[in-house]
């Protein structure tokens, strides 16, 4: 069984609407029922991020995201799927339910 990351691409500051949240909830239930569920979560706004670099000893902290972009990852799912053709329709459903574009990406060793 391979694992895939479905990241939600967002470009607005407002989070999901109630209707979107309800649709996402139903989708999550379905993932659980069908054995695809690993983990999912929504992320706080990019400006709440802190970049931490401890490669040279004491961590250097930078306030804000590592990249200033118009679009960012607003949340994600990690799913189990036997192959890409099983993961793809789930990603399509995820995009539909959260009403945003998503990126489907395999974990290494898929």
């Amino acid at each position: 069984m391979a694992q895939y990351l479905i990241s939600v691409l967002d470009d607005t500051t407002g989070s999901a609407t109630d209707a979107e949240m309800a649709a996402i909830g139903e989708f999550n239930e379905r993932l659980r029922a069908d054995g695809h569920w690993v983990f999912a979560g929504g992320l706080a706004a990019p400006e709440t991020a802190t970049v931490v670099d401890a490669r040279d000893g004491g961590p250097v902290l930078t306030d804000g995201p590592y990249l200033e972009t118009k679009e960012y990852v607003g949340g994600f799912w990690i799913i189990d799927a036997p192959d890409f053709d099983v993961a793809l329709p789930l990603a399509a459903l995820a995009s539909q339910r959260c009403n945003r574009r998503v990126e489907l990406r395999p974990f290494l060793g898929a």
Binding site: A81, D83, F84, D85, A87, R105, P106, A110
Partner: protein, 406 residues
Amino acid sequence: MTDVGEVLTRVHREEWARVVATLARRIGDLDVAEEMAAEAFAAAVERWSADGVPPNPGAWLTTTAYRRAVDRIRRESRREDKHREALMLADVPEPLGVIDDDRLRLIFTCCHPALAMEARVALTLRLVGGLTVPEIARAYLVQEAAMSRRITRAKTKIKAAGIPYRVPSRDDLPARVSGVLAVLYLIFNEGYLASDPGKEAVRADLTAEAIRLTRLVRTLLPDDHEATGLLALMLLTEARRPARVSATGELVVLAEQDRGAWNRQLIAEGHALVRACIAAGRPPGRYQILAAVNAVHTDARDARDTDWAQVAALYDHLVRVDPSPIVRLNRAVAVAELDGPQVALAEVDGLPLDGYHAYHATRAELLRRMGRGGEAREAYERAIELAGNSAETAYLRRRRDQLSGR
């Protein structure tokens, strides 16, 4: 004594896809399958010259490639992956019927919609068609290294993303088959009307390859009438190739072509396929309709005998299946013959095709017929600017220059 080189060329054409496809299933790695298939063919050059051609060349190649693949995977996974090796060795050769399925698997994998279109084309030509990377690079005027990277990247994605090596489920099948046909049609069109001014006007190698691959897909999916339609469309288009470019390298439009130079054999085959589609009685898709249009054209001994009412009716049908502006533009050409250039121009004007050379070329011809020389000239200029094909540009220039002579 048989000429080994000749036999190898034929066997390569007939067996390459089968060897790669069988290997890919048995070892689960496209990259290794491709490489070992190539090695097996290279080994055949030597062995067959020395020992003669084996009674079953395809089986010899598959076995040779498989043994080499096993050796290689064994070497690479000596420490880590005993399990995989055991699995692989347990796999015994399967009966022939299943092997045909492998080629279908290979085609669906190469044409997977998650790959960029140019990657699908390159991968299909390499893994299914058996063209070498330099051959594909030449056909698309791309540096060999760049083409090689494109193919490698696609194979890496297939492996890493877990794109499966199987025929799609019943639900996905129609969309996936039409994706495969789109790749084949794109290869054919690039051959038939090369988009780059530096290339020969017609690339017979690509059209021949596209036809060969479409024949294969049709054999593998005999119930898919669109595959039959696409094959018929290609054959009826290819049949006119000898008359399509003049000795001076200029495009010859349908109405001016020497119909005696058309390939009668291809036309007969194309017509038979169109009749088979009609006899099947299913609602036709776009390739079947386009094939029927081409059947009408190739039916006329003289351009003046063309049944334009039939052509227009077929385009009416196509507009319902595919209401794209390009289809409307093509329909207008038939309308011009039936109802005159004025009616056709009214339908053409306003189509959102300003960046498409054929739009301006069509307008130019219509305006010319209506005696509006100035506007026709402008339209020709625009079409020449946008046309990429050298033969087409030459034709448009001559038409434009004829105007100034008036």
